[in-house]
Amino acid sequence: MMKEFDLNDFGKQMPYHVPEGFFARFPEQVMRKVAVERRRRRMWRLSVGMTAVAALVAGIVFWTGTPEAIPSVPSGDYADRMVTLAEQLDAYLDHLSDEELAEQYDYYAADVTLTLYEE
């Protein structure tokens, strides 16, 4: 039978080994992943933004019924509408979880009309 149990007899050391240099490497490893994640979100925003612009233009075409109505450069009301839409998209994206973003990214990444605009 062991003597009266005392946690202090065991101490707080962990019996596990950590690979050499792990803590020296780890911050850089995480920051690289952070950079990848930021690029991925930026590309997804760009893809969704271009889809929204395409939808807006298509809407204008069908609304006016004539190809001449497609503006070559957004201006006036059209530019204002696109800025507001971009802000709404940003707010929407901020609420999505990583899984939801990944799901939507995979869906849009397969669209060749969008990947033409990738950086």
């Binding site: 062991m2 803590f23 911050p27 952070v34």
Partner: protein, 181 residues
């Protein structure tokens, strides 16, 4: 230290976040490692912890301590991992087969190493909640108010968990040494 990190992050988010990782990587690593004895799994969970912290960095308003906020994310990530991988985790008795368990060369050190492993086995056999509370209180030396925030449990309940955790650990270890004689 937390104030400094937040001030740096206000001016340069990436620099502040790197300071955050450097400050908290070790305590969080060991917190996660106590829940998942394999290094590779602990590394994955730790990485996910910091990635999630980065994603929600903007929503950290300072209403809690930075450490408490991070411990909460780390605990939830580890629990999520355990839930997802419960069929592939090492059985309790195979703790010695975890490759990273260190065994020392001389007799005195071997005895110390054995006691450390027995203590880990005793902790692993605790119910999940008792194990978490015991680790946070004993190893991480957090006060009950912080643990209450991390685990979203009342302080009195935590004190009870800790008491029973120690009792169960004591019984396990005493039984181990009794059976050895």
């Amino acid at each position: 230290m937390d104030e400094e990190i937040l001030q740096i992050a206000d001016k340069d988010k990436e620099k502040g976040f790197r300071c955050l990782i450097e400050r908290y990587q070790e305590p969080l690593y060991w917190h996660v490692r106590r829940m998942l004895p394999g290094h590779d799994d602990a590394e994955d969970v730790l990485q996910e912890t910091f990635l999630r912290a980065y994603k929600h960095w903007g929503s950290f308003k300072g209403s809690s301590k930075l450490s408490t906020w991070l411990y909460k994310i780390a605990t939830n990530e580890a629990l999520r991992f355990l839930e997802k991988n419960k069929h592939t985790l090492l059985p309790l008795d195979d703790l010695e087969r975890v490759p990273e368990v260190e065994w020392q060369d001389n007799e005195a050190d071997a005895e110390s190493a054995e006691r450390l492993v027995i203590l880990q086995k005793a902790i692993r056999q605790l119910p999940e909640r008792q194990r978490l509370v015991f680790n946070l209180r004993y190893y991480d030396e957090l006060d009950y108010a912080d643990i209450s925030e991390i685990l979203e449990t009342q302080v009195e309940t935590l004190k009870t968990n800790f008491f029973y955790a120690k009792e169960n650990i004591k019984k396990y270890i005493q039984k181990y040494y009794d059976e050895r004689i």
